[in-house]
C-alpha cells in the first residue's frame, strides 16, 4: 500500500460526483477559453485586414445620369499621386454586387441600383495622410465624395469584442472560484466523515501534513479525472462549431469569429484538467491544514 491511501477517500460519495461536477466546469471553462481565443484571433484578422486601408465612395450624381468614367479616372489619378497612398483601385460592378449579395439576395439586380463607385485605397505604412484635405480635393472632382478610414466602426467593434473577451475571462474565473469552493466543501465533509481515522492517525503520530497529503492527492486525482471528462465533449463541441462554420458559406464568414484556434489555445485548453487538478491539490491541502490546526 502506498502511503497515500490510509484514508478510504475513494469510497466517499464525493469521489463519484466530484469528477462529473468538475467535468462540467472544465467543459464550460474550455468553451469560454476557446471563445476568448476565437475573439482575439478575429480581432487580429480584422485589424490586419483593415489597418492601412481607406475606402473612397464616389456617389452617383442626383441628376444627369451615372458618374462618368472620366471623373472616376480623375479621382484615381489624384489618389495615386497623393503622398502616403501606395495603390488605389475602383471596384467593378460585379465585385460591388458580390458585396451586396448577402444583404439583398439574388432577386435584386445590383446594376440597377444607383450605387456609389467604391475605391479601395492602400496606405503606405508610417507615412502621414491628411484625410480631411484628401476628402476636400476629391469632393472638388465628385461632389459628395466621402473617405472612410474604418477607424470609428473598427474601434466600436474592438470594444465589443474586448467586452466579450473580458466576459469569457470572468466566466473562467467564476468557474475556478466555484471549483475552489467545491473542493473546500468536499474536503471539509471528508474530514468530518473520516474524523475517527484522522483522530487515530494523530494518536499514532501522524503530522497534519501526512493527513493533508491524503486529501490533496485525492483532490488532484479527482480534478484531473473530471478535467478529462469535461475536455472530451469540449473538443467535440469545437470540432462541431468549426464544421458548422465551414458549411456556412463565405459571406458571413468574413465577419464571423475565427474558429480555427491557434496552437496556444489548444495548449491552454488541453492543460485545463491539469490546472483543475492543481487547484484541487492546493485547495485541499490548505483546507486540511487550516482545519487541523484548530484541533487539539
Amino acid at each position: 500500500m502506498a502511503g497515500t491511501s490510509t484514508l478510504p477517500l475513494d469510497q466517499d460519495g464525493s469521489a463519484r460526483f466530484l469528477p462529473w461536477l468538475i467535468g462540467l466546469m472544465v467543459f464550460l471553462a474550455a468553451l469560454a477559453t476557446g471563445a476568448g481565443f476565437a475573439i482575439d484571433m478575429t480581432l487580429i484578422r480584422w485589424d490586419d485586414g483593415l489597418r492601412g486601408t481607406l475606402t473612397v465612395q464616389l456617389p452617383q450624381p442626383a441628376i444627369g445620369g451615372p458618374l462618368s468614367a472620366a471623373s472616376v479616372d480623375q479621382a484615381l489619378l489624384l489618389l495615386r499621386s497623393t503622398a502616403g497612398v501606395t495603390s488605389a483601385a475602383a471596384l467593378d460592378a460585379s465585385a460591388e454586387a458580390a458585396l451586396l449579395q448577402p444583404w439583398l439576395g439574388d432577386s435584386v439586380e445590383a446594376g440597377q441600383l444607383p450605387l456609389p463607385v467604391l475605391i479601395d485605397v492602400q496606405r503606405a505604412e508610417g507615412v502621414p495622410l491628411d484625410v480631411a484635405d484628401l476628402t476636400r480635393r476629391l469632393a472638388a472632382i465628385v461632389p459628395g465624395t466621402t473617405v472612410e478610414t474604418h477607424g470609428a466602426w473598427l474601434e466600436q467593434l474592438f470594444r465589443v469584442a474586448r467586452l466579450i473577451e473580458i466576459g469569457a475571462a470572468l466566466v473562467v474565473t467564476l468557474i475556478g472560484t466555484v471549483a475552489v469552493l467545491t473542493v473546500i466543501f468536499t474536503t471539509r465533509t471528508g474530514l468530518m466523515i473520516h474524523a475517527p481515522i484522522v483522530d487515530l492517525l494523530h494518536v499514532m503520530g501522524a503530522g497534519d501534513t501526512y493527513i493533508a497529503r491524503q486529501f490533496q492527492w485525492q483532490a488532484f486525482r479527482l480534478g484531473l479525472r473530471g478535467g478529462i471528462i469535461g475536455l472530451v465533449p469540449a473538443f467535440v463541441a469545437f470540432g462541431a462549431l468549426e464544421f458548422a462554420a465551414a458549411q456556412g458559406g463565405s459571406g458571413a464568414a468574413d465577419l464571423a469569429p475565427e474558429l480555427s484556434l491557434p496552437l496556444l489555445a489548444w495548449l491552454v485548453i488541453g492543460l485545463l484538467p491539469l490546472a483543475m487538478g492543481l487547484v484541487g491539490l492546493v485547495t485541499a491541502r490548505v483546507t486540511v491544514l487550516r482545519t487541523l490546526a484548530r484541533m487539539p
Binding site: 490510509t6 499514532m204 503520530g205 503530522g207 487539539p296
Partner: protein, 270 residues
Amino acid sequence: MLAQTAGIGYAKEQFAPTVAAAARLRLHPSRTGAWARPDREGGTGVVRLENVALRYGRGPEVLQDVNLELEAGAFHFLTGASGAGKSTLLRVLYLAERPTRGRVWMFGQDAAGVARADLPALRRQIGVVFQDFRLLDHLSALDNVALPLRVAGIDEAVIKEHVVDLLRWVGLEDYLDVRPSRLSGGQQQRVAIARAIINRPSLLLADEPTGNVDDLIGLRLLYLFEELNRLGTTIVIATHNAALIERFGYSTILLRDGRVTMRPGTARKL
C-alpha cells in the same frame, strides 16, 4: 496445538521464550528516542501530571487535580467505576486532550509547550490499544500494523520486514493480507496490539483490553503486556476487571470522581 485450538499464538506456556524473541525482534525505535529521557523540570518519569483538570465545554470537571508520575518501566492498572474518567485520563496521556488546567510532562517535555509540528514525534513514543481496537477495515492486517511506521516516514522495505516479523510474533503470519472484519475478536486484538507496539513505544496505554474477550484470552493478553514491560515499556492498563488486578498484583491508579489515588501493588496470585 493449543494456540491453533484457541486461535491465538501467545499462550503463556508458549510464551516463555518470547522475551528473548522480542529482544531479537527488530522493532523500530521511536525517532525521538525510544525510552524515557532524563529531563529537568518534568522529573525522571515517562509521564508526570501536575494538578491536571479537564472539563468538556461548560460541564463539570471530569478530572480534578490529578497528580501522577509514571516511572520508566513501570506497570500500572488504571481502574475506577464507569464514568470515573479512565478514558479521559488515557486521552490526556496519549495527548488527544489538552487539560483545562495543570501541566502534563511527557518524556521530560511540557506537552503544552510543544509546538504542533513537534507533537507527532512525541506521540510516536506512545502506543495505544483501544477497547474497540479501531482497526481500519479498508486495510489489511499488515497495513494496519504498518500504519505507525508509515506515518513516521519509514522506508517501505523496512516496514514490511518489521511488520511481518511482529505479526509472526503474535501468531498472525497467515493473516497478513486479511482484513480485520474477517478476523476473530482475539485476532483483531492481536493486530491492534501489534500496531500499538510496532514503533517500540516508551509508553503503552491499553483501554479495557480484556473487555471484549473471554478470561483465558484476557489472561494471555496480560502475559503479553508483561513481556513488553520486561523489554522496558511502561504499561498502563485501564480495566474494570478486579480479579485480573488482584491476580497480577501491580500497583493501581484508582480514579474516583475524577480524582486519582495510587494503590501499591500486592503479591502475585498466579
